[in-house]
Every structure is written in structure tokens, then in C-alpha cells.
Symmetry: C2
Subunit: 324 residues, 2 copies
């Protein structure tokens, strides 16, 4: 019999959020725990213990059995279709971990499903949030980098290995800014939190952020936070820089529109305060950037319905879907 409840855990670089969800999208219980980083133990061992503790706590509060509730886990990185973690640069201690096996051992639970966190967020918005009923859309998660998830024909696009949705590593400027992935010119070097920081440093060095440079102490000390704070008080130089980042945001979105003809984009992630400033101009820039723009219906860029909880909620959607 299909379960009425499911657990979703979003394992972030600094903390793990676990939620117990109803099928209709109610958060029944939740708990947040620091994510362990213990390289002295086997891949993901410390993490599996923290997750098992979170899961026991939530099921105990709710009076359900930790061995039988379907569990979904969202992680940053490349997750194979079998649930193992191929590559997780922001979660080194879990790279290569087999969390389903580790949790089966600790909880006796054999319904543990791991998915990329951006894909989870897309599923949460599709099931319960800002993309309900929209069969072709893209979740764009603006954080330190850019994560995301694609829905086409009403289904999550997983790809051959399960690695689909790495939209932040789409190259938008050939031979452009170097990226930690080893490539150059990846979208996330322009339109993410770190991209904003990078462009702010460049702009400050060029003398385009005089007020923020004074506030930061020196041009080379200007950070993304200074820009966001400046924009919040209406400082023109800060707004101009966010407008530049908005252009890059629109550029990547227009590529996704060309490739998969999505017209709806849900913007989530930690950069969402800056995103509030960027979304109106990004939407305007699409008119110049999208091929055949006048022939297409309007584009909608909307904020995530769940903010930083989208990944955890979506992990529960994964659990509902894959547990059958």
C-alpha cells in the first residue's frame, strides 16, 4: 500500500534539513542538524549516522516506523540513478557514499532514494509549489553556484546517468572566467552568488562601485553582500551591478528556452534576495535574447514557493514517487 507520509532530507554543505511530509504537501515535522564533515571515516558514514538520527526523531515524534516510511535524500552533486554519489565537491566526505545501503543497515529501511538537490527542488515546485500543472519548466537555484532541475513533458529529466540539470555548468562565454569544475565560462561564474561576487570585484577594481568600495574599506574588499545591501537601499551603483548580473541570468534562461522551449522558470536558492531585484530586468532582457521572442507566449520568472526548504520537500516527492 502506498504510504501516506514520506521523509525528505536536504543535505546541504553546512546543514541538513529533514521534513516529514503528507502527500498533499503539508510539513508534519521538521528538524535541522549541522552536516558532519569527517574525512577520517568511510565515505558518508558520519553523514549516514546524522541522517538516521534525524529520521528516527521525526518518525518517533509522528509515531511512525522508521523502517517503513519512504525516504528521499537530496544532495548537491552528481547522483547516479542507483542513488550513489558520483561527485560532490561541496560534500567531499560523502563523495562515493552509498546512502541507501548505509541507511538500510541502520534503520532496516529499504526504500531510500537519493537525488540531486536541484532536481528535488524542481519536483517540490511541480508537485506543490510554483510550477503546479506546468509540464515544461526549469528550476533555477541561485546559490554559491547555480543548480537546477528540468521538467519536460511533465516528467523530471534525469538523463542517462541521473546527472541532468547541471545548468550552472552550461558555458555561456567560451574561454571565459575559470570555474572550479575545470571549465571556463560556465553560467554560474556570472549569474550566481559567487558570480555576483566576482563581477563586484571586477566592477570595484574598475571604479564602478565607489560608494561600496568606501564602505567595504577598499575596492578589493567589496563582496556580494555589499552589493545586495546597497541595492536594498536603492544605491544606483549596486542596482547597476545587479542589472548586469540579471543580463547574465537572462542569457542562461534564454538558452534553456531555445533548447527545451520552457517558458516558466522558478527561481530559488540563497541568492533570492538579490533575485528579487534581478528578476524584473532579467525578464525584460529576454525580449532581446530569445530567438523568435515575438512568436512565443510571455515568459514567467517566479520565486520558489518554498525557498530554502524546496530541496527537502522535493526529496519527499522523490520518496513518494519511487516508493510506488
Amino acid at each position: 500500500m502506498a504510504s501516506d507520509i514520506a521523509l525528505g532530507v536536504d543535505v546541504g554543505g553546512t546543514k541538513s534539513l529533514a521534513v516529514l511530509m503528507s502527500r498533499t504537501g503539508e510539513v508534519l515535522e521538521e528538524v535541522t542538524t549541522p552536516t558532519p564533515h569527517d574525512p577520517s571515516r568511510g565515505a558518508g558514514e558520519a553523514m549516514a549516522e546524522v541522517l538516521a538520527t534525524q529520521i528516527r526523531e521525526l518518525t518517533s515524534r509522528h509515531g511512525s516506523d522508521p523502517a517503513t516510511v519512504p525516504i528521499g535524500i537530496g544532495v548537491p552533486g552528481l547522483v547516479r540513478r542507483d542513488g550513489s554519489l558520483a561527485y560532490a565537491p561541496n560534500l567531499q566526505s560523502a563523495s562515493g557514499a552509498d546512502l541507501p545501503a548505509a541507511l538500510a543497515e541502520r534503520l532496516g529501511n529499504h526504500s531510500v532514494h537519493v537525488e540531486n538537490d536541484g532536481n528535488c527542488a524542481a519536483l517540490a515546485e511541480f508537485a506543490w509549489g510554483a510550477a503546479r500543472g506546468i509540464d515544461d519548466f526549469v528550476m533555477v537555484t541561485l546559490g554559491t553556484g547555480i543548480g537546477g532541475g528540468l521538467v519536460a513533458n511533465g516528467q523530471l529529466v534525469r538523463g542517462r546517468s541521473g546527472f541532468a540539470g547541471e545548468i550552472g555548468h552550461m558555458v555561456v562565454e567560451a574561454r571565459g572566467a575559470p570555474c572550479h569544475c575545470g571549465g571556463y565560462g560556465c553560467w554560474e561564474r556570472y549569474a550566481s552568488g559567487s558570480g555576483l561576487g566576482r563581477l563586484a570585484s571586477l566592477a570595484a577594481a574598475e571604479g564602478r562601485l565607489p560608494t561600496l568600495s568606501v564602505r567595504a574599506g577598499a575596492p578589493e574588499l567589496v563582496r556580494a553582500e555589499h552589493v545586495t545591501a546597497g541595492a536594498a537601499e536603492g544605491l544606483a551603483e549596486a542596482l547597476a551591478l545587479l542589472d548586469e548580473v540579471a543580463w547574465w541570468l537572462a542569457l542562461g534562461i534564454s538558452n534553456l528556452a531555445a533548447i527545451m522551449d520552457a517558458g516558466h522558470f522558478v527561481i530559488g536558492g540563497g541568492l533570492s534576495v538579490a533575485a528579487d531585484f534581478m528578476v524584473p530586468s532579467a525578464t525584460t532582457y529576454l525580449a532581446d535574447l530569445v530567438e523568435g521572442y515575438p512568436m512565443r507566449p510571455p515568459f514567467t520568472l517566479v520565486p520558489s514557493a518554498f525557498g530554502v526548504r524546496a530541496g527537502a520537500l522535493g526529496a519527499a516527492v522523490v520518496a513518494f514517487e519511487r516508493a510506488g
Copy 2:
């Protein structure tokens, strides 16, 4: 009852190829006719007449009824889900045409389905060709521009309006070479036939194609054909230029790999002679360009099984699928 046969027509900028297909992918009959370009008549009127004539000829040869055979039509441009042509820069006289209505009127056939030609080619390779059994792949059609089609989760990605697969207009170099679409830095300005011609002109002007410049008469007269011919005889300067184009080909492919985690790419279109030279080095370049390359299974770039007939065959697949 589902039909045993279907008609597929690929309407190109210069000629229209019509094929009568069996469900197993046999070409039963075929005919090629010049594509009419008559701006003095209503949108697509001259074209509808040519198509009706082709269809009557093939069904008559085969002894079947032109009113009941399901018909698929592939066209270059943005095709709406209802089969009308939103935008067809290479087929101006058909822009806005409603071919299903025009053929219903002429043939009494109410099962006419129009689809983008790149999407058709993808479906032909998926059904009968170089992508059989592969649920996540991309068709890359290298012609004057770059067309294509995406298959994800074993389904054609059509997108909200039916415009998906415009991969040639993915921007790979922000503020790069101007494109006829109005944008800048589109992939097809680097890795298509016209891209090859453009890069050849640049290289000749920089003195990097001395032998080809002599052959052409002057550096400014060097065309894509000179490069392809030079490569065929092993001329180093020509091979070096194709290698450059191969790098751009790999760049776009690596973007598609990041976005949808496809590992299989079917290369078709009129540039396929040059593609034979480019595919080996493009495949090698992927190792540098794809994020997390070592964690992924090998990539396969393969030639189209059907060459220039892929679009027509795929139009017949559309007819089989949508006629039910």
C-alpha cells in the same frame, strides 16, 4: 485501426522529399520536388499544392488512399503544437501557413501533422536509426545552421509551444558573432556550415589559410567548400580549421550534456562530410569541456543513419505516432 503505412515529407529550403513508409522503417516509395517560393500567393498555398501532388503520386503508385494515409510534414522553423508555422526564416513563403487545413481541403485528409524538421530527424533515428533504444540523446543537424531534436525519458521534448530543439541558438559566446536571429554568439555561428565559412574567412584574413587563399584566388574568397576539399586531401591548414570548428561543436555538445545528461549525439545534416573529420577531435575535446567527465560513461557521437532523408523518415514517424 492503426495504419500500416504513413507518409513523411521534409520541406527543405530548396526541395521537398516525400516518402511512403512502412511501420518497420522501409521506404516503400519516394519522390523529390523543388520547393516553391511564391510570395504572390497566400501563406503556403503554392507549397500545399506541391505537397498534395507529391502525396497523390506516392499513394497512387502504392495503390493507397491519399485521404486516409496519416501524413507527417517536417519544416525548418518554429512549428506550433497545432501544426501552424510560427516562424520559418528559410521558408518565408510558408510562414504562418496552416498546412493541415490546406491539405485537408485538397486531399480530404484530416490526419496531417506538422513538426520541426530537426525534431523529425531525431524521431527517425530513435525509431529506426542511430539512436534505437537510447532514451536520452540529441540529434544535431549541421547544415547552414544547426538544427536538432532532443529525446529525454524516451520521449521527444516538444516544449510548451512545440519550439524545443532550437539548439543552434544556444549562446556559447556572450556578445559574440551576430546571428541572423538577432542574437549574438549563437552556437550555429561557430559549428555549422555557415560557421565554418565565417571562421574560414577570419582565418584566411589572418593568413592562416595560405594555400586555400591561393586556390580561392584571394583570402576573402575562401569558402567552407575550399576547407572541406582541402581537408579531404589532407591539407594541414584545412584540417587545423576543421579542428577549431570541432572544438566549437564539442562546446555545444558539452552544454547539452550538462543540461540534460545526454551521452549519445547523432550528427546529421549537409555538413556531414566535414563532420567526418570533426567528430573524432570533437569527441576528444569533450574530456576537457564536460563537467565531471571522468565520472560519466563514454560519450558517443555517431553519424545519422539516414543522412538527408532523416527528416522525411521522421515526419512519417510523427504521422504514425500522432495518428494513433
